[in-house]
Structures are given as structure tokens and as C-alpha cells.
Symmetry: C2
Subunit: 406 residues, 2 copies
């Protein structure tokens, strides 16, 4: 029998009605003689509600206690979904991260998966049960509960699929991967198939359907992914293999990310040792840096801009306040109203001119550019918030990403 | 240093505001140089809300999955209370039943405590931390989550106090133990001190302040109990030792229990083997029988009435339908609108006439009596629902249980 790992996100299990619908979908998959492992997120806004409770008690919740609190969200979903499956006559059992022995590092809210002990899950599957696993959570080797941070449930699902040599289906509230968020680019096309690499670029740029961390893991272990709308007959997007360059389109999609902020440090010593210090300090505080731009001024001092996730703003503020003298920073500021617009396309590798064309389109639309970064298959522009819709439209229509222009 | 185990019930931690107030009380106890272990229940109506969610998904929730679901209630409380303590500058850590290794039987919703591994809790106390433990929950030796059923948090608290050789303080929403529920008997007096035995009789009869199971455990291990209102300066009730018969009052209190139903079986074979069968079947289904009344009719057949908790009504119904032919039952019925009124007093042992006086009072008030049972220090009358208030008043006023008559 084939093992299939299915992941249902929070919006797919947002109400007891939706949970019952999802249970019926799972039952169908089971009847196609598959062994099914289901990963569920917390219902709808549960995580936000729990954070609100914590916020009502303290301004600075301890990270261990926050994980203790957040873990309950998924535990509620797995119990309810398992009951719903049993109500349909399916044999099913729920498992928390701790019961699954999904072992993680002890870095609360950002734990990384170390290993998964398959003995319990295999035992349950062998007894013909559908196994319903709490996503997003794990346990350390000294029995502390952890959460995996952003994209945690996706990552749980892919990690389990990798260990079980299974296909991984991610069910969400959109039909699949689009060339661009249709709310931003009306008429954006759905992709029937894409590669891990393109999806990573799309996802890390805010496509929001699946977390890049999960896709990276899928790529590493070559786990076949299928992304589709839950409880829908519409065909989703298959993700596997690598880019077929012969067929590669110039631009696959556009992604928009509003989650970052820009930090600028002025007058650092022009010394690459100092740069290493800055990024090392940020890494040690577990702050992910995304875009980086560095320039020398006339006097030979260095100005540095970089973007980090908005959620880390306080940590970064403290860190810079602490080190600024060591680094020789004369002045620094945070610009939080920024948006990153990225153009992804494997064809860029072989066909030059995408950057030039986008720069021209942005200039014609008088869209200010704060920073630019490029990789092999993507180019990203940081623009002031408010300009992203115009940017997406002008790029989307000119690169054939909409149905109308196709 | 003394170890104190404090238990806060659901109404004491019903809102984040109340959690913060409770944290301040705990901080005060800690500052009196005690080592503090806190047991908390789920916030307010959380357990009911979770049951409602389960009910929206299925009519017959699996008991294992129900425990998976219910366990989240206390997990939320411990995380929030710990955060609130940390916010006040206290060192604190939360532990679930599983992390505490509070090992139970695998009987879901009615698990019994087998043992508690103190290593984790001692480690945390030695590091100066207040340990906040999830009440009501435990774990089996194969890592399944359980709940302890009614009075579970009280039982967790007393069991921990017994193992830690600690005093156990139960904080609730009433000032202590009263001669009778003041809502039923206006002017009912608060007791400053009572014995385990009297409290067991009071509690098992529905006094609702502490579960008899917890008091029995306290008595067994001679754990000193203190029952008081949370966040209040009012003196509570101390419970320790045994009854001092010299001083024993004739009647300590009156309790009312509305949680039972009465089952009547007609025309059983008059054979004590059959009776053993009936009660053995009920025991195997984990249905607690309370009052029992048995009578032979003229033809030599036996009629049997007994009371069981209302929550077990469906189980009992199935069981009787299954066995009635074996038992020779010609007819049977359930009377659910019944109330048990009990009079508790150690003085009854040495001073006869309490029963006679109560029978006379009930007859004068024209209160129908469905069943009667007696023990050394209590007498209970089952009456039709609706008559209990009159019964309590007439007994209370005539036995000096109110301030007015004192």
C-alpha cells in the first residue's frame, strides 16, 4: 500500500463543519487503499487567540511557556478530526508531537526537526488506522514541548513524508500555485506543474501557500508534493524534480512579501571583519537577514542596509543598541513600511534582459526602488509600501502572467 | 523550607485578570519562604466549550480522543499562569501531567493515579522555581494522555502534597466548608475546622467544594487540607485528623446532590448471586452505584432500586438491555428527576434519634421519600426533585445549622 501524507491548514479546519468535510475527503483517500497520515494545523484563528491571551497576561511571554500554550491549538484539531473520522466509521488515532517523538532542537518558537521515531506511527498504520498528527509541534530530548515556527505544519508534513517515503499533499484554501497572488494580479494563471526550485523562490517571497523551508526539505529528500484546495475537485499543482531548462519560461511568477522591514546602519568602518560581526550577531540572535545592500561613501566609511522579518524588530533594536559603538555606527534607522516584489523565472539564467525590462517598467510607472537583489532565477526589488500593486500589474501584464494576455 | 501545594479551580482562573490576581497571591506565599507547587484547572467554562466542540463533530466521542481534547484546557491555564508569575518577577515553570510523569491507569476520563515521579518537580523546586502543574491530567506508561474525571484537579493536588509531604491548600470561589450550601439554606454557618471523615460525607453528597476522592486520599496520607476563597482575606476551613467524638456535634451539615438518577428493576430472581451479578456488571462498566434498596414482593420475586451518576445513564441503559433476560427482569425504568438530601453528623454514632427526628420533619412538610440509606455518621433521603429546598430548610433550622438559630 502507498502511504500518503496529507496536510490541512488552519483555514481548512477552521470550524467543526469544515473538520467534518475534511474527514470525508480523508475517508475517500483511505478507500483508494492508501495508508494515510494527516497533519493538521490549529483551527482557524486559534493561534492568534492564544497569543492574545498571552498578551493579556504579560508583555514579554517566556518562549518556553508560549510553546506550552501554542501546542494546545493543534492538539484540539487532531482530537476533533480524529473523532470526525471515527464518526464516519474510520479507524483513526491522534498523536501529538511528543507522542510521535518528533524530536527537535530546544529553540522555542523556531525549533528544527532532528528526527522522527517511526515506531509509533508504523504501529498505528499497521493496525489499519489513519494517523492524525499535530503539525507545528515537537519535543526535545528532555521532554520540553516546542513549536517549529513559521511554516511549521508544512515542515512536519514533508519531514514525515520523507521519513515514510510517501507522497505529500498540502491542502489549503487556494487551488494551487499561481503566477502571482490573484488578489494583486487579476487573471493570474494557475500552474499545473512546477519545480522545487521555482516554488522555493516563489514561496520565500511570500506566495503564502507553502513555506519555503518545507519545499527545501521536499527537494532535499525528493518528496513529491501536490498542492491543492481542500474539499475541491479542481486540479492542483504538482511539484517535483528540477527545472527543465529547455522548456523554462522567462518569468514563472511574481511574489510579494510584506513581512520584512529595512534597517540601515551608517558610517561603519569599511572592514569586512565588521560586516561579519554584524551578520554573525544577527544570526546568533536567530534573526534571518534577507536582502543586503552595502555601499562605501566618499569618506571611505560604509553604509549598510538589510531587511529582516518584522517580528524580530525588537530583538534587532536591542542588538544594534548594544553593539553600535563597537561597530562604529554613527546613525541608524528602521524603515518598516516596505514591500518586496520579486520576479521568478528559470529562463532568466539563459535569457538576459529581464532585469533591464523590469527596471524600465518600474521607472515608467514612477515606482521608487529602495534596494535590489538578484539570484540565478529571481530578481527582487524593495519598494515603499503602497507601490506593490502597481508594480505587480505592470510586470504581470508585460510578462504574460495573466490569462487575458496569454 | 516548607512545600505548599496550592490548587486553584476553574472559576479562580476564569479570565486573564483573575489569573493575574492568583499570580499575586502565589507570589505572596512564595515570599513567605515556602516552596510552592500550584495545581490549576482549565479556565472557567473551557472544558464545557471543548465538550461542545466534540459534540458538534460526533455524538459518541471516543474516550481516548476526548482526553486528548480535554487535556488542552489545563495546558492553556498552566502556560498563562506561569507567564503571569514570570511577569511579576517570579521564577516559574509549567508542567503537563505527561511532563510530570503523573502516571495513571489507562481508563480514559476516569483514570486513577498510580504514581508520580518526583524527579522533575524536585529539580525545578531546587532551582527556586514555582512549579505550575496541570491538574486533572495524567499519562499512562505507553504515553497516552488521560484525565482523572470528577474532582481530578483536587485529587492531583492532594496526591502531589502526599508525595511531597506538603500541606495542601484548595482555593475556590467559596470561603470554606459550610453546614449547608447557603443558596439552599440562608444563614448557613461556615466551619472553621472539620475532620476528613465529615468532609468526605459532606463532599460526596454534593457539597461541591472538594471532591471526596481527594479528601479520602488526604485522609489516607494524613495530608493537612485548607479550603478557602481565592484572593480573599477571609479565614477558610482547616481539615485534619479524625473526629473528636467528645466534642462531636449531633449534625454538622446538610448536603444536597442532584447528580444521580434512580434505576428500578422489577421481578429479579430472589438470589443473592443475581444481585452480585448486577452490581458486578455495573462495576465492570465503571458505573458507581450509590444508594441501594432491595425488597421481596409477595410472590418471592425481588425488586431492586439503586442510584447512579446521571452521566452514566446511557451505559447503564445498554447494560441492562443486554442482561435483563439473564437477570429475569420483567420491567425496569429510570427516574431522573431525583435529589438526595443527606444529614451528616458524627454525633449520630452515639446519640440516636436523628433519623427519627428527620423522618418526622419530612412527614410534617409532606415531602415524599423515595429511598433511604444510612451510614455511621450520615443519613440520606432520596426525594423527588423540587422538594430539596424545603427539606434542607426544615432540617437546617431544626438542627441549629444557621447563624440565626445559633
Amino acid at each position: 500500500m502507498n502511504i500518503i501524507v496529507q496536510k490541512y491548514g488552519g483555514s481548512s479546519v477552521g470550524t467543526t463543519e469544515k473538520i467534518k468535510r475534511v474527514a470525508e475527503e480523508i475517508k475517500k483517500s483511505k478507500e483508494e487503499s492508501n495508508e494515510i497520515v494527516v497533519i493538521v494545523s490549529a483551527m482557524g484563528d486559534t493561534t492568534d487567540e492564544l497569543l492574545e491571551l498571552a498578551g493579556a497576561v504579560t508583555n514579554k511571554p517566556d518562549s518556553r511557556e508560549l510553546d506550552m500554550l501554542l501546542n494546545t491549538g493543534e492538539q484540539v484539531s487532531i482530537a476533533l478530526l480524529t473523532m470526525a473520522l471515527q464518526d464516519l466509521g474510520c479507524k483513526a488515532v491522534s498523536l501529538t508531537g511528543a507522542q510521535l517523538h518528533l524530536e527537535t532542537t530546544s529553540s522555542h518558537q523556531k525549533a528544527r526537526i532532528k528526527d522522527i521515531d517511526l515506531s509509533r506511527i508504523k504501529k498505528e498504520l499497521n493496525q489499519g488506522r489513519i494517523v492524525v498528527v499535530a503539525g507545528f509541534q515537537g519535543v526535545t530530548d528532555d521532554e520540553e514541548y516546542t513549536t517549529l515556527g513559521r511554516g511549521g505544519s508544512d515542515t512536519s508534513a514533508v519531514a514525515l513524508a520523507a521519513k515514510l517515503d510517501a507522497r505529500c499533499e498540502i491542502y489549503t484554501d487556494v487551488e494551487g500555485i499561481y503566477t502571482c497572488d490573484p488578489r494583486l494580479l487579476p487573471g493570474a494563471k494557475k500552474l499545473n506543474h512546477t519545480s522545487y526550485e521555482e516554488l522555493i523562490e516563489m514561496a520565500s517571497l511570500g506566495a503564502e501557500v507553502i513555506h519555503p523551508r518545507a519545499v527545501e526539505l521536499a527537494q532535499k529528500y525528493q518528496v513529491p508534493l501536490y498542492i491543492a484546495e481542500s474539499c475541491s475537485k479542481a486540479e492542483g499543482t504538482i511539484i517535483n524534480g528540477n527545472i527543465d531548462y529547455l522548456e523554462a519560461s522567462l518569468v514563472t511568477g511574481i511574489a510579494v512579501n510584506r513581512d520584512d522591514i529595512q534597517i540601515t546602519l551608517r558610517d561603519l568602518e569599511a572592514d569586512s571583519y565588521i560586516l561579519a560581526e554584524v551578520f554573525n550577531s544577527l544570526a546568533e540572535a536567530e534573526i534571518n537577514v534577507d536582502m543586503i545592500s552595502q555601499l562605501l561613501d566618499k569618506s571611505g566609511r560604509m553604509n549598510l542596509s538589510f531587511t529582516i522579518p518584522e517580528m524580530d524588530i525588537e530583538k534587532a533594536r536591542e542588538l544594534i543598541a548594544f553593539y553600535r559603538k563597537d561597530w562604529g555606527v554613527s546613525d541608524w534607522w528602521i524603515r518598516s513600511e516596505v514591500v518586496k516584489v520579486s520576479v521568478v523565472g528559470p529562463g532568466m539564467r539563459t535569457q538576459p534582459g529581464v532585469a533591464a525590462k523590469v527596471f524600465k517598467l518600474l521607472a515608467q510607472s514612477e515606482i521608487p526602488i529602495l534596494m535590489v537583489t538578484t539570484s540565478e532565477i529571481k530578481i527582487s526589488w524593495l519598494v515603499p509600501a503602497g507601490y506593490e500593486e502597481e508594480a505587480v500589474k505592470v510586470i504581470g501584464y508585460n510578462f504574460g502572467l495573466t490569462l487575458e494576455k496569454d
